[in-house]
């Protein structure tokens, strides 16, 4: 088991290395940090631009391979992921934003899973009844609605509510604004901030769990072994709950593990709409600022998350499914 995991890890490290390198070359080819300076008014002298770019190891006059090896050397020797065009180290910038993202995403992911899986089970058992049709229609609507539209409409609605009640019930920007020392008020303040982006993320996130869990359960509901269970004397509902549900939750569990990957990039739009300083927003900034090192660092981070999720999914599947389980 351990040996197996190590082998898979080695493979993942190689995969990650190739993928990140590819991202580095793509970023270097398509992003133009020089233009940041060229558009300044007054335009700085070329020598000073070159000096700044050289400091961050993003000067397009240096051959890309040389830059790549410098960059690689920095990571391997000092865990230095490079500087932004403004000479800010990117790795600490990424690290400092992880906490905001986790706060935002953790709550909504848990809620999404609970709501989505429950709805999936609920609708699968009522296949083609009106509850199923209605909930599916709602989920389809959320499935197709762009996150930006959903976020902005909720902001619009909230402002209307705030105006109507004359108080600020919900905040539409940031995660905190309370500065005092009262824990209770601080929590309330946090909730007032987090609730709207959470609603958006849950609306977007639960749909997938709902629709896939419904499919998985419908698949297993017609399985022969459910029929066997009924022949033993279980009622249809008992047989579904005990036999079909358990089996149908296995793929869902691996889906959840996979979703770790999307946690940090899935909230880009939401973070932008609600002005939350998380990883997603940082990513947008790096792109806008032609921050090659920053963008690659983010890509690397989400790559690690993806592969961690994949590994976790495998382990979970093996743990839950005796057919895969090790003897």
């Amino acid at each position: 088991m351990i040996k197996y995991i190590i082998r898979r890890l080695v493979n993942y490290v190689i995969m990650l290395f190739v993928a990140i390198s590819m991202t580095y070359f793509l970023a270097s080819a398509f992003m133009d940090p020089r233009s940041n300076y060229m558009s300044r008014n007054p335009r700085p002298p070329e020598a000073s631009i070159d000096r700044s770019l050289d400091l961050a190891n993003i000067n397009d006059k240096t051959p890309v391979l040389v830059r790549y090896f410098n960059w690689l050397k920095g990571i391997v020797t000092e865990w230095n992921w490079g500087l932004s065009p403004d000479q800010e180290p990117v790795a600490p910038a990424v690290a400092s934003r992880i906490s905001s993202s986790v706060q935002l995403v953790a709550i909504s992911t848990v809620l999404s899973i609970i709501i989505g899986v429950s709805l999936g089970v609920y609708t699968a058992i009522r296949q083609y009844k009106w509850q199923d049709r209605a909930l599916n229609a709602v989920s389809t609507l959320f499935l197709v609605t762009p996150a930006a539209v959903l976020g902005l409409l909720i902001v619009l609605g909230t402002i209307a509510i705030n105006n109507a009640t004359g108080t600020r019930i919900f905040y539409v920007t940031g995660l905190h604004s309370y500065e005092g020392g009262n824990i209770g008020l601080a929590i309330l303040d946090f909730l007032q901030h987090i609730i709207l982006p959470t609603i958006v993320l849950v609306c977007i996130g639960y749909v997938n769990y709902h629709l896939t869990q419904r499919t998985y359960l419908l698949d297993t509901m017609n399985a022969d072994y459910v029929r066997t269970a009924r022949a033993k004397g279980l009622t249809l509902n008992q047989a579904i709950r005990k036999h079909a549900l358990r089996t149908s939750l296995i793929p869902t569990t691996t889906n959840i593990a996979f979703s770790i990957a999307s946690i940090f990039t899935g909230a880009v739009i939401t973070e932008t709409v609600f002005a939350i300083n998380g990883l997603g927003r940082y990513f947008v900034t790096t792109i806008q600022d032609n921050d090659i090192n920053g963008a690659v660092c983010i890509a690397a981070f989400s790559g690690v998350c993806t592969l961690a999720g994949a590994l976790l999914a495998d382990i979970l599947a093996a743990w839950l499914d005796p057919r895969i389980r090790l003897n």
């Binding site: 009924r230 358990r246 895969i324």
Partner: protein, 700 residues
């Protein structure tokens, strides 16, 4: 046909009350094409300790009937009539009320043991559930001891340990035993078996049938045994209902049905099956046509379009199932039953037995015919990987282990064996047209070499063709028949005109209407599709056709027609067949030579007569004795050699005879002899009378 009197097949004299009374049961399903009338009036009574066999082809409504009794039909099924269990009406009960009876009083064994058990629960948990749901007060100790008792009863060794195992760690036969154990857990009054052995090999089938009979004796339950296999039913049933197009068409005790059937369909069904216990005497007689579509059924007797005796009355109205005059307890649904009984018409009077075509090679002894396929010491191994998670190689499977055989012009060589014996792998290995891992394959004297020119490959393709088991999947559903048949011809580079002409001839050759070449495979019935597959294989005039279970996916009444066609084509064209089948009856009928395979090796090789009449190898003997014969008298009297245990894991390697562990002869041998069996691998050598009758056994 609603009077209860008529429905009694064989009421016991002592006036015992039936446990189950089914009256005028009707089941309809809604479907895309219209209402499917799956069951159209079934009546029967079931008595304790008796076995009622329900026989029919696919779509005859036999399984739907059983599911209706269990209350397990889909929601879109519409059920009418009455099913009474000990006087208690079942059809008005809801799921919850039915669940009290299910598994406790009425139990069921399903067809496919591989999918019948929940993969994520251990055997013990699943058995426990069956017990606890009806006996909530059972203590943990009682449950365990009862579970072990049940597993022992159905013949699972090491029952204590096996309780912790998961279904995937069991073979199909073992899983079916577990399902049976769950079914008898609460000593039910009725056990419904829906094709319980169809998915199993014949030696395993014999074991499972034995377990079922033992279970019936233990519980005294009434059994409903549903099957399409007349051989199995002959041995196990007391009374038989023959179903056709959703209705019983004949009902009687087992001997009467087999020896004095009156309904032409029953006769046809019995006549269409080849017999494993008799040498081939004549052609098989297929029932013409195909089973009725259950949507928009025409009026009249549903069998009328296929019945040689059909007259205008038959096409006017559907006959009721009525007692046959002068026959005790026999009922039949046929307008012409009186004539049949009065004139004592039998199968051969009603159906016309066709003349077979004379073979091109008739009279030429085998030695003088050209060898089309020569296989020498063929080996094929697969790496064995463990589980899905730990994908590492843990061993090798010797799928084909040192197989040597030859096929000559115009003859049929059959490879027989149970699943895992390597018979299909042998065919696929030949068809790969590449140098085998080890050994040599020659076609028409030319060995298959590592590198072959395009021209040589093309020639190989024109000489050797392949026919698959399931015509449903071997024809591309997106292509019309014309394109399907044209494909091998295009490979051979024929011109458009040549292809056109050839396809017309081919359609005629397999007795299909050439005007139908624009249709798609889905528009044909199973038998017709297999004819198309045969036509495709013969399109390029091959010298050798490899057939992998070509009739096992077909209904019995259709099978005979395809077998006849294969015979005729062989005789007309002189093509040789290498035929793989697990059905020994079919093999007995069609083949000239037989190779019996066990764990990748040929254990016996000889002519049809020698292998069936004077089998040498103990495995062959056991195999032959396990084949059910469609004759109740023979079934009752004959002694079966039931093999112990299962096929060993194919990854095991043996220094001696691989069969030694299951060999019934092994225990009769002396210590020294046993040591030889375990230590020395037997060679395939000529034994017995004929020079070409060989067996791989030290003491055969």
């Amino acid at each position: 046909m609603t009077e209860p009197m008529n429905t009694v097949a064989a009421a016991p004299a002592n006036g015992e009350q039936p446990v189950l009374e089914v009256r005028d049961l009707r089941v309809n399903f809604a479907s895309e094409a219209g209402t499917v009338r799956a069951v159209r009036g079934v009546n029967f009574d079931l008595y304790r300790g008796k076995t009622l066999g329900i026989v029919g082809e696919s779509g005859s409504g036999k399984s739907v009937t059983s599911m209706a009794i269990m209350g397990l039909l889909d929601k879109n099924a519409h059920v009418e009539g009455s099913i009474k269990f000990r006087g208690d009406e079942l059809l008005t009960k809801n799921d919850k009320e039915m669940s009290v009876l299910r598994g406790d009083r009425i139990a069921m064994v399903f067809q496919d043991p591989l999918s019948a058990l929940t993969p994520v629960f251990s055997i013990g948990e699943q058995l426990k559930e069956a017990l606890v749901i009806h006996n909530p007060k059972m203590t943990e100790e009682q449950i365990v001891s009862r579970s072990i008792e049940l597993l022992k009863l159905v013949g699972i060794p090491n029952a204590e340990e096996r309780l912790k195992s998961y279904p995937h760690q069991f073979s199909g036969g073992m899983r079916q035993r577990v399902v049976i154990a769950m079914a008898i857990a609460n000593n039910p009054d009725i056990i419904i078996c829906d094709e319980p052995t169809t998915a199993l090999d014949v030696t395993i089938q014999a074991q499972v049938l034995e377990v079922l009979q033992r279970a019936q004796q233990e519980t005294g339950a009434a059994v409903i045994f549903i099957t399409h296999d007349l051989g199995v039913i002959a041995g196990i049933a007391d009374d038989i209902i023959v179903m056709y197009a959703g209705r019983p068409v004949e009902k009687a005790d087992v001997d009467t049905v087999f020896h004095k059937p009156v309904m032409p369909y029953t006769m046809g069904l019995l006549g269409a099956v080849p017999r494993p216990d008799r040498e081939k005497s004549s052609r098989l007689v297929p029932i013409p046509g195909a089973p009725m579509n259950l949507v928009n059924m025409p009026k009249g007797c549903p069998f009328a379009p296929r019945c040689p005796l059909a007259t205008d009355i038959c096409r006017q109205g559907e006959p009721d199932l009525l007692p046959v005059e002068g026959r005790e307890g026999q009922l039949a649904a046929c307008h012409r039953v009186k004539e049949i009984v009065d004139q004592n018409l039998t199968f051969s009077d009603i159906y016309t037995v066709g003349e077979s075509v004379k073979s091109k090679f008739d009279g030429i002894p085998r030695e003088q015919r050209q060898t089309v396929l020569d296989v020498k010491h063929l080996k094929k191994t697969f790496p064995l990987t463990a589980g899905g998670f730990l994908r590492r190689k843990i061993g090798e499977v010797h799928a084909v282990d040192d197989v040597t055989l030859d096929v000559r012009e115009g003859e049929t060589v059959a490879l027989v064996g149970e699943s895992g014996s390597g018979k299909s792998t042998t065919l696929l290995e030949i068809m790969e047209f590449r140098q085998p891992e080890s050994g040599e394959i020659s076609v028409l004297g030319k060995p298959i070499a590592k590198r072959m020119s395009r021209e040589d490959k093309r020639e190989l393709h024109s000489n050797v063709q392949y026919i698959f088991q399931d015509p449903m999947s071997s024809l591309d559903p997106r292509l019309p028949i014309y394109d399907i048949l044209a494909e091998p011809l295009k490979v051979q580079g024929l011109s458009k005109q040549e292809i056109n002409d050839r396809i017309r001839d081919l359609m005629a050759l397999v007795e299909l209407n050439p005007d139908q070449v624009d249709r798609f495979p889905t528009q044909f019935s199973g038998g017709q599709r297999q004819r198309i597959a045969i036509a495709r294989a013969l399109a390029v005039n091959p010298k050798l056709v490899l057939l992998d279970e070509p009739v096992s996916a077909l209904d019995v009444s259709i099978q005979a027609g395809v077998i006849n066609l294969l015979e005729d084509l062989q005789n007309k064209l002189g093509v040789a067949y290498l035929f793989v089948a697990h059905n020994l009856s079919v093999i007995r009928h069609i083949s000239n030579r037989i190779a019996v395979m066990y764990l990748g090796r040929i254990v016996e090789l000889g002519s049809n007569h020698d292998v069936f009449e004077e089998p040498l190898h103990p495995y062959t003997k056991a195999l032959l004795s396990a084949v059910p014969v469609p004759d109740p008298q023979i079934e009752r009297t004959r002694q079966r050699i039931v093999l112990e245990g299962e096929l060993p894991s194919p990854s095991e390697s043996f220094s001696g005879c691989p069969f030694a562990g299951r060999c019934p002869m092994f225990s009769t041998l002396t210590k020294d002899q046993q040591a030889r069996c375990l230590g020395e691998s037997p060679e395939l050598v000529a034994k017995g009378g004929a020079a070409d009758h060989m067996a791989a056994c030290h003491f055969a």
